[in-house]
Subunit: 539 residues, 2 copies
């Protein structure tokens, strides 16, 4: 009897087989300390693609696990879905939009159609405009209202308009154009504004306002505050502001003059937008357009890999399958991202948004309950810092899978002084090698306090160096992994309705505060008791 | 029949009752949207103590839950244990040490005995020494080797020698002494060193090396690198280095001259040490000794509250009980710390270490298996940033409890421009009010993608402002909460054996790399296949 095909992933035969299979992997004989000793383990459970090395030999999987996972992916048709996404199909069905972050870094001559219109010319045009603009800023052709060359870049944006650009700026800081400084004004908290205002020279400051709708409350409030600040310094905002926004938004309105306006598109979501003008404008000003383009080319290379590589050789797909396995079958609710490279300190916050906002859903793309947990908690700090912080829990408390990320060649190779016979970079790498082994193998001890159970899974990702290309590849790897996870679960990773309720409640509260500002006699009577308490306490 | 008393918390009668009680709380009728509507909810489920307001009205508890939790705490004798800790008893039994972070901020004339010796004179002496030293640095009496006044403070330390001082420095940055800059060199990653080296003026730089044993690999490697750097600049390290370390450690050796050496003690663990010389030296140089002392006084005030307040009025104890309830009975594996204040951006990383390293254990203090999960995953970013990042998961995906933290008066009150009728600070507060309500109440919708289940628990903590006292109170609140949790579970929150295995494996790997550095013919043959692969790949 052939069961009727169901859209729900938990009804797939492989899903049921995987549940049973998890029981086998949970047996003592399949403890990682035994699995990693198997002949050819490293060769069979590691991949290289698009310049990145991905080792999952210390994940709690065997050949049988992978076979079932690949079968699941095949039956779900995830590679076809991925291709459809890059071809411009309406994969963001709940918002009736395409999801074309891949187009924003494509250098291909092939057209990509959205609603029968080839969008590629527009993609190229935005890049060309960024390149020309950057060159004029760096040459001093465009200057501030008092004639000073721009040195301070302040990016006003929140969420996807902030975390991606911040991650890349930090990762590539070693390539920053001399004397250029970048600041991120994301939080509506006045402390964020106050601190930046105190550290810039307003005359040599260029503000980049990034907002698709140009109506995001936090960004609007910060933009207004910045306008006011510049006006009080008797500087003409029109000569100090740039916008990155949708065509025809209030930020793209000629009656509100700015130095330049760059377009973003509804088919690229905030958390996937760092390769669009969202990252392009600030990163090109900070690092140079050529560096930004190299970053795009790295991302494009990984995109091609994610589309073309067969499932068994496909880094982001394999990583996505392991993520689903760890989440739904081994029941780990969280995952740490631990780069052994301080410049990647903003990777975890970016992936936190990318993954948790994309996949933190409880319904499939048709709005039906999933019946399983999709998203997990992503967190992380650079190693070895993390070892001296929360790794106690990883080793002896509640286990969580880890992505270890290593960089073979450091950006500062002039510092070679050795301690205990090794350079600092070698000391760092020794720890990168030791931690996954310690987590996997554990160590017995008669004293319970000194016992390590081991069997803690991890992956290890290696980059050759912190080149713009590698940062692009790493970014695209995590984006594709996130999307592949979603396609396996059958959810829409491109909407974020979960942020709406808080926004609408905040809007109601804002109105009450505004009333009170106008009329000190205004009473908060009609609010619920707890809200009323806070309104009275805070205002 | 009276069962024999057991040390194991899961054998306590209240534990069993709480398990049963959780079934009642999980019923639809006890959804938070109903609980918060109960008369007097806010009054009955909020507390004020030591200047901090703590509201747990949106936690999934009722009067019955709290009654059982208080009974559990009483039977466990946690307030007595807490008092014993502050009295100098050997509460860190696995390492045979007292745990006296509270003494480091005590201004009381009462003695505190450790092994029959009153330690308070030494506590006061360290503070006096810090005060005098700070004054000489700020007045220019002590200068660098070329006569320049010190302007750059570089703190070399990792884990507890880094996260606490960084948190406080960021929180109180608005009070920093003009022109003083602070940098944290924690990671052994040469990128961390390289970036700091590129941004300081070596002649006006004072390096503060913080290490209890003075043998921590990362700190030693960074110190050596910094010495070499200064020597290459022809600057005398003896006139640019300060140490904070144990009496008699290699960092306290007169044959290795430094400007000054300050002592730390084995009865104060790294993650509890920010109120000792560990925080005292860098924070006094950065903020002034008077600010540091105000910070200590705030911490002391909360310590007294944690010791003296009856359980029902005791903020950290109530918070600890709720944490245990959420973890072990409602089964939330993680908790977010979300300060609606950018200067508190380093609070979550600090609490992450404090709590996860203290309580990430699987055995009780006698080494017996706990049978339950103690530690949880702590993570967080400032709001509203977090709303635009990972709150999608909080609202519609995997739920996790949240500590919301608000600040009534911002430090920058000169920026009062209004958007939509409210100041930026008011906009921030509107969101602080809206989020817990949205999480608790949820919202129904026929469209599954727009449905919010609600029933997501949170607490709200309010500080009047970001004064040094309030930062001290907040720090002590989280320390006491962490310790109270541990005392309930019966674990030792002061050891961290879980970090040892990785260290010892890294040490073995380091030796191999050092061999290879000496002898390029050296072969990594005797390593296991995976380690060998990485050694060959990386070196």
């Amino acid at each position: 009897m052939n069961p009727k095909p169901s859209y729900s992933i938990i009804d797939f035969p492989e899903w049921k087989k995987l549940k049973k299979h998890a029981g086998i992997i949970n047996r003592e004989e399949n403890h990682l300390k035994y699995l990693i000793g198997e002949k050819g383990r490293m060769e069979n459970f590691s991949l290289k693609g698009a310049g990145i090395f991905y080792d999952y030999s210390r994940q709690r999987v065997n050949a049988g696990t992978m076979k079932l996972l690949f079968k699941l992916a095949e039956n779900r048709g995830v590679t076809k879905q991925f291709k459809s996404m890059t071809d411009g199909e309406i994969v963001n069905n709940t918002e009736n939009r395409a999801a074309l972050h891949t187009a924003s870094r494509s250098f291909s001559a092939d057209p990509v159609f959205v609603n029968r219109k080839n969008i590629m010319p527009e993609m190229f045009l935005v890049r060309k405009k960024i390149k020309e603009f950057t060159s004029k800023i760096h040459s001093g052709e465009i200057r501030g209202s008092t004639g000073k060359v721009f040195k301070h870049i302040v990016v006003i944006g929140i969420g996807g308009s902030y975390l991606g650009p911040e991650f890349v700026a930090a990762a590539l800081k070693h390539l920053a154009i001399k004397k250029m400084q970048i600041h991120f004004l994301s939080n509506v908290d006045i402390h964020n504004f106050g601190e930046i205002a105190a550290s810039i020279d307003p005359e040599s400051t260029i503000w980049i306002v990034i907002s698709k709708s140009y109506t995001t409350s936090e960004t609007a409030a910060n933009t207004n505050q910045a306008y006011e600040f510049m006006k009080q310094k008797r500087l003409d905002p029109a000569k100090h502001f740039v916008t990155v926004t949708s065509k025809g938004s209030p930020g793209d309105d000629p009656s509100n003059p700015v130095i330049a306006s760059f377009h973003m598109f509804d088919f690229i979501g905030g958390r996937y937008s760092v390769t669009s003008a969202v990252g392009g404008v600030p990163l090109s000003l900070y690092l140079g357009y050529d560096v930004f383009e190299r970053f795009l080319k790295g991302a494009e290379e990984m995109d091609m890999h994610a589309i073309q590589a067969p499932p068994e050789k496909n880094l982001p797909l394999v990583a996505a399958l392991i993520s689903v396995w760890n989440n739904n079958f081994l029941h780990y609710p969280a995952q740490a991202v631990i780069p052994y490279a301080s410049p990647l300190s903003k990777l975890a916050p970016h992936i936190q948004q990318l993954n948790m906002e994309s996949n933190g859903k409880s319904v499939n793309k048709y709005g039906d309950a999933l019946g399983i947990s999709a998203g997990i908690i992503i967190f992380g700090e650079p190693g070895t810092n993390a070892q001296h912080s929360f790794f106690q829990l990883a080793h002896q408390g509640r286990p969580f899978p880890v992505d270890f990320i290593g960089v073979i060649k450091p950006s500062y190779d002039q510092y070679k002084f050795k301690s205990k016979g090794v350079t600092n970079h070698q000391e760092l790498c020794a720890n990168l090698i030791a931690q996954p082994a310690a987590l996997a193998c554990g160590k017995d001890d008669a004293n319970g306090a000194k016992r390590f159970e081991g069997n803690r899974p991890s992956s290890t990702i290696l980059l050759n160096d912190l080149s713009p290309e590698n940062i692009g590849r790493l970014l695209s790897f995590y984006e594709a992994k996130t999307v592949y996870e979603a396609f396996i679960w059958g959810i829409n990773p491109f909407d974020q309705f979960g942020v709406e309720l808080g926004k609408s409640l905040a809007s109601g509260i804002r109105k009450k505060i505004a009333e009170k500002n106008k009329n000190p006699e205004y009473s908060f009577e009609d609010a619920d008791p707890i809200t009323k308490f806070y309104l009275e306490k805070l205002f």
